[in-house]
């Protein structure tokens, strides 16, 4: 409770400073709208459904891309960890491509797919895939061999070994890879939505883009806030409980 109050006070002070800067006319109101203007944009956008629609469109793109990234990335990570041939080829490629900031995929996607949904999906998948591959590979390689040996003597083999021993043992690595993949997917989707202007649906990135085109700073700041909140919520609702469980089971300290 004390921590909550402290955090609330901190954000209240930030808002006050913002309002003070607005009133002091330090910058043109076009460049720095007041918190109230941003709030009223949010209210209107929420009431007329713009915000909900954009959020749904964005989340759909994100989840589909993220899901594809996981479904392809997990088995690829297992393959690269298990067979040298895959490790030397796909593993090396994944390592290289993971260092590429995901926004760098946007020009290529635009040229290949044009201003389409496919272009955005491609960017999100590329953002997710490689970190999932690498985390899975690292996780599997770090499974202590003694777990395998113990399981072998108890009669575990092949699929049972993979699903009941190797994967659970690698879970902490895999989850941190999934979390990183999620962060990359989110960033790359925003980049893609800002650059890919299509008529099949306005996501949050597109709202941001048109806010800039119209010099509507209240819209720009409001949408940025929404993007921050969604990122936080995903972390709190989806990843935090999994991480808490892992810390509890493994006895690793909770940072």
């Amino acid at each position: 409770m004390k921590r909550f109050l402290l955090a609330s006070a901190f954000f209240a002070v930030l808002l006050l400073l913002w309002e003070a800067a607005f009133r002091a006319k330090l910058w043109s109101p076009v460049l720095l709208p007041s918190p109230w203007q941003v709030a009223s944009y949010l209210k209107n956008a929420a009431l007329d459904g713009t915000l909900a629609k954009a959020t749904v469109i964005t989340m759909r793109r994100l989840l589909i891309g993220y899901f594809i990234g996981l479904v392809v990335g997990l088995p690829l990570g297992l393959l690269t960890a298990r067979w040298k041939l895959f490790g030397d080829t796909i593993g090396t490629m994944a390592l290289g491509l993971q260092t590429l900031p995901s926004v760098c995929w946007v020009p290529l996607a635009l040229l290949w797919f044009g201003q389409t949904e496919a272009a955005m999906l491609f960017v999100v998948v590329m953002g997710t895939l490689w970190s999932v591959v690498i985390a899975t590979e690292t996780g599997v390689r770090n499974v202590p061999p003694i777990y395998r040996r113990a399981a072998l003597t108890m009669g575990s083999k092949r699929l049972h070994m993979w699903f009941k021993v190797i994967l659970p043992a690698a879970l902490p690595f895999i989850v941190s890879g999934m979390k990183q993949g999620w962060a990359f997917a989110w960033r790359s989707l925003m980049a893609a939505e800002i650059f890919v202007t299509i008529l099949t649906g306005f996501g949050l990135g597109q709202l941001l883009h048109y806010g800039r085109e119209l010099s509507a700073m209240d819209q720009v700041i409001a949408i940025m806030l929404v993007i921050v909140v969604i990122g936080l919520l995903a972390d709190k609702i989806f990843f935090s409980p999994i991480e808490r469980f892992l810390h509890h089971r493994w006895g690793t300290s909770q940072a």
């Binding site: 003694i146 003597t153 108890m154 009669g155 493994w250």
Partner: protein, 274 residues
Amino acid sequence: MPRAARLHSSVSEELEVIAPSKLAIENVSKSFQSASGTVLALDRVSLDVAEGEFVCLVGASGCGKSTLLNIIAGLEKPDSGTLRADGKPVTGPGRERLVMFQEPALFPWLDVFGNILFGLKLKPNLTRSDRRDVAKYYLELVGLSRFEHANIHELSGGMKQRVSLARALAPNPRVLLMDEPFAALDALTREQLYGDIQEIWEARRKTIVFVTHNVREAACLGDRVLLFSPHPGRIHEEFPVKLPRPRDINSVDLAAYATRITKALKSLGQTAAG
């Protein structure tokens, strides 16, 4: 057994004391490649272990005793020689011969109960409730019923090894292979476990092969103590221990055995050095 009587038939069948195995190891050799060349870990080692016998393998580290244990477990293949359990050649790992390792190889993603169930779930013809009853029985046997749902990291070193023991016993193997299981524990915990393991061995009738570098421990537990000589790994000498059970690690009679074995171990070190 009052507890077994309360359980229904398939469980009591599962908990029935089964015949321990007879092991026949003949001319087993194994070598490894290392940076300094080929190391002959085992050189034509032969060993017969009787049904229900408790055999301890002692020797300096690197004398091949753990390698032999892994070969009996089926985790490693010998370069030459044969290994038979109850007359049948051993071709790979199997739940007839379960291993208890030095580091607790317990699975951190499962709780205590889940760990004990792991091997049972791989055993055919057991219902869910059978498995739970059997797991509960062994948890009680090692005195950890209260910790059924504890996480592995919450247990002390001694408790972890008790859980490892329960996990290894649960699928009712004929042979129990123990690779320095108490080496990482403090003296007090160890002494307690010497008592427990003798009691459990009496109750469950297993053939046990126990690897250790602690001579006193070997004399306390084994019907026979086999002394290994290193480079190449061979069985150098055999010491039958004829003391009544349960044995106390601190008894004078036991100390006499330990002294004899230690002397032999030391002379081995000298010839190897010289």
